[in-house]
């Protein structure tokens, strides 16, 4: 009999304790109304305390980049907190550099607002909006990359070519919460009523699997943006751009924006790496662009071309092709800027090639994902 009663009694006590903790939490952790001061009084907001800084800002339509839904695993939502909000949490410190710690940079998702708080965020964040879009088209551009175009339903997005948006993946299947992922826009700034993204299937990836297997034309999807520090300088310096896979996106935006705005004289080299012919895409569009922009040079390269499949372009790892062209074609006698879109490994490898060819790290641009 005791064997039956004892677990029940333990469960009952646990339930009572849980209820008590919940009630105490509501009473003790009632922080009341607090003031959020943004950028030295530029904006002051009264709100109820107790929520994270990230969600409190989102509630005020101020969107700080975030890719993990506030779980402290992406490190994207860094912002400067200028008032005392307590010590760093163990979840924050892995993302902080020495400079971040000195500037009291915090992860907005990990800072809970318990009293008045002052923060500094880039002014651009005030221009970021949430868009309720409808999927206009989905096109397979390769076997694992989809071009997805979203109609903003009368809203307009204003951005510089090279920036990115966050795609909000809704709960689906076993995924109970919404998830956000960042994708560079392939559409041009002149196309204000749409957003076009290139989304490559990531093995095991929640967002990309959802896009590739469940998303369909006509679906409603939220986008948040534009974000990012990646855009071309307003100079006539030679641009050397490098990408692979869906890293194509920001360069389609930048290059076709240059065509639209008549920026035709600037020398631009675009190196695009893929493994085989079946991983290559937009070749016709970029060859056409070469005809319209006399100083634009497109250099597609295959790292593992398959026997029997015709290919008359460059071959080899994209960094080796870049190195060869920097030495033999582009030259080192003029100032050059590097523009990169890819994984940290690809960016590090390209940085090494650029610096070995006398391109300063200060002149190499990429989003630090």
């Amino acid at each position: 009999m005791m064997i039956i009663i004892a677990p029940g009694a333990v469960a009952l006590i646990a339930a009572i304790l849980a209820a008590a903790i919940s009630i105490v939490d509501k009473v003790v952790n009632n922080y009341g109304e607090v003031e959020l001061d943004i950028n030295d009084g530029k904006k002051k907001i009264k709100l109820d305390g107790g929520e994270s800084l990230l969600s409190s800002l989102a509630g005020q339509e101020i969107f700080v980049p975030s890719a993990c839904g506030g779980r402290g695993t992406c490190g994207a939502c860094k912002c400067q907190v200028t008032s005392d909000v307590g010590p760093y949490l163990p979840t924050e410190t892995p993302f902080m550099t020495k400079e971040n710690l000195a500037d009291n940079i915090r992860l907005a998702c990990q800072v809970k607002i318990k009293s008045d708080i002052s923060i500094k965020i880039p002014d651009e964040l005030f221009n970021i909006k949430k868009y309720d879009s409808i999927v206009k088209s989905i096109v397979d551009v390769t076997h694992d990359i989809k071009e997805v175009t979203f109609d903003l339903q009368g809203e307009e997005i204003n951005f510089e070519a090279g920036k990115y948006v966050q795609l909000v993946v809704p709960p689906h299947g076993k995924i109970k919460g919404s998830t956000q992922r960042a994708y560079s826009m392939a559409s041009k700034p002149g196309e204000k009523d749409i957003v076009r993204l290139l989304i490559r299937l990531v093995p095991g990836g929640i967002a990309t699997t959802w896009v590739h297997t469940e998303l369909k034309e006509g679906d409603r999807v939220e986008l948040v943006g534009p974000f990012g520090d990646f855009f071309r300088t307003p100079t006539d310096t030679t641009m050397v751009c490098v990408a692979g896979g869906s890293g194509m996106a920001p360069f389609m935006s930048i290059l076709f924006d240059m065509l639209d705005t008549g920026e035709l004289d600037r020398e631009v080299w675009y190196f695009f790496g893929a493994r085989t012919v079946k991983d290559m895409f937009y070749l016709d569009e970029l060859r056409e662009l070469e005809k319209k922009m006399p100083n634009f040079h497109f250099v597609p390269a295959l790292s593992e071309p398959e026997e029997g499949t015709p290919w008359d372009g460059a071959t080899g790892l994209i960094t080796d092709v870049l190195d060869k062209y920097l030495k033999e074609e582009i030259g080192t006698d003029k100032k050059r800027e590097g523009y990169l879109c890819g994984s940290p490994g690809m960016i590090n490898a390209c940085n090494n090639v650029f610096t070995a060819n006398k391109v300063s790290l200060d002149d190499i641009f990429y989003d630090k994902f």
Binding site: T73, F95, G177, V202, P203, G204, G244, G345
Partner: protein, 150 residues
């Protein structure tokens, strides 16, 4: 088998929505210690050691990174694609943070794949935890045997 406080904490961290949206347990509800004990048996049945399997996975991860985001062929037998999404994940056992680097290792002759992350290599090597059945990143011993080894 008895759950220690550390195991109880780890199992809580493995629930959906704590560290990752889907968690680490898949469709399973049994205690993690029981899952580990069962999977140690499955690894043994497959003739795999945790140390050697972790070394093999780490080797493929390292070689795959040379593709700079594009797939790369290793030893004519495997096609590896490594992607490096932004961010880091803490281990549910609270003994480290790991980049979200993910490798898809495909045996070319059969087209069968294993998907592995930096964190899942750590979980396999240090905790003998290969994730619950039904988890997106479970390292199924028999599949690893077929895909990773000659």
């Amino acid at each position: 088998m008895k759950m220690t406080p550390a195991m109880t904490m780890a199992q809580e961290n493995m629930q959906p929505g704590v560290i990752t949206e889907e968690g680490f347990l898949g469709d399973e509800t049994i205690p993690v210690v029981d899952m580990i004990a069962r999977d140690e048996g499955e690894m043994r049945d497959a003739g795999l050691s945790f140390v050697d399997t972790a070394k093999r996975l780490a080797y493929f991860m390292e070689e795959g990174q040379k593709g700079l985001g594009e797939p790369v062929t290793i030893d004519d037998k495997w096609l590896i694609r490594v992607v490096d999404p932004r961010g880091q994940l803490p281990c549910p056992f609270k003994d480290g943070f790991f980049h979200k680097m993910t490798a898809q290792i495909t045996r070319k002759e059969t087209n069968e794949s294993v998907v592995v992350t930096d964190l899942s290599i750590h979980l396999l090597r240090e905790h003998h935890f290969i994730e619950g059945k039904g988890s997106r990143f479970r390292l199924e011993p028999q599949v690893m045997k077929r895909v990773l080894f000659d």
